[in-house]
Amino acid sequence: MKKFLLFLLLVSVTAFAGDMKTLKSGEKAPSFALKNYDGKEVKLENSLKENKYTVLMWVSTQCPVSNAYNERMVKLSNTYASKGVAFIGVNSNKEEKSPDIEKHSKDNKFKFPVVKDEKNKVADLYGAMVTPEIFVLDPKGTIVYHGRIDDNKAEKEAKTHDLATALDALLAGKKIENAETKAFGCSVKRVAAE
């Protein structure tokens, strides 16, 4: 009986080992502690305790789509900081190192930390696949919005400002109409599976 249960466990683990599911609204967000480019540790649980909402943004220094959103990320983070919303950038791309991230952040005047996710471990936990990609967490660590910042990488062409709309609804205690959205972007550059 014990051997059979062990066999079942092995099969279930290997069956799911190759599958990566992206977390969706309503699901619990995994905790993490990663270093910002200045060496300081950023703990998700602290951000959840200290803020009304935490916005995780998967970003890239090289992706043209992520970079098209640099100014919008700055505007959003500055606007919502005073409303109790914290922004944390996450860089999981294998080729983008902390010095690159630091320069990129400073050049683009990011006031939010951009943590380095070595070997895309946190990206794998969240199933983050694209840059930019947003996960908004409530204080309990539940994902309340997932997806895009808005519907067009050209700022002037954007018609739906999904992240801002979601945050406004949350802060007003209202339900988010579109809690799951999508947009084209660059794939997260993962390390090769060992």
Binding site: P64, D151, A183, F184, G185, S187
Partner: protein, 179 residues
């Protein structure tokens, strides 16, 4: 008529006949596999794309979504062209650009040509990106490059996200051919 004249006429006629046989009637057959192809890019929407996935020749369809701003897309494109050439009897390749149609001639075509593309390609028609992404596969995040493999019935058999090597493409195609 003199005998010698008759013989001469007969010989000439024979020579003419042989020449006709050797040089005149022989047509070079263009192998079915090698047809005149040329690079072209036309707009396509989701329903039109799905129609193309239904095939009556038993071949797989490999659909690759790429963009001019996507460097990994451009890097893997020659592998897809090589895949198409080496598996010509087993698969068809559809390259679908995710870009502004204004870029077709100035940016898209040079990139395609550089990758060795000399066949018809497509660009996603302007419209709701989210509906398009979900229409291809609800599990697809919209990350590029993205490659999907379909059987001849138009059923999706595999999804490859991010840049692939030729070996990875080949492995995926072979696995689908075995099914």
């Amino acid at each position: 008529m003199k005998r010698s004249t008759k013989i001469l006429r007969l010989t000439l006629a024979l020579l003419a006949g042989v020449s006709l046989l050797v040089f005149g009637c022989t047509k070079k057959e263009t192998p079915r596999a090698v047809m005149q192809e040329s690079l072209a890019v036309s707009q396509i929407d989701l329903p039109e794309l799905k129609k193309k996935l239904q095939r009556n020749d038993g071949k797989l369809t490999v659909v690759n979504f790429w963009a001019t701003w996507c460097d990994p897309c451009k890097e893997e494109m020659p592998y897809l062209v090589r895949l198409r050439n080496e598996y010509r009897d087993s698969l068809e390749l559809l390259l679908v650009g995710i870009d502004d149609v204004a870029l077709i001639d100035s940016v898209m075509k040079p990139i395609l040509k550089n990758a060795g593309v000399n066949f018809s390609c497509y660009i996603k028609q302007e419209g709701n990106d989210e509906d398009f992404i979900n229409g291809i596969n609800p599990e697809w995040s919209g990350a590029l490059p993205a490659t999907f493999i379909y059987n001849a019935k138009g059923e999706q058999m595999d999804m490859l996200i991010s840049e692939q090597t030729f070996e990875k493409f080949q492995q995926a195609v072979r696995a689908c051919l075995r099914k």
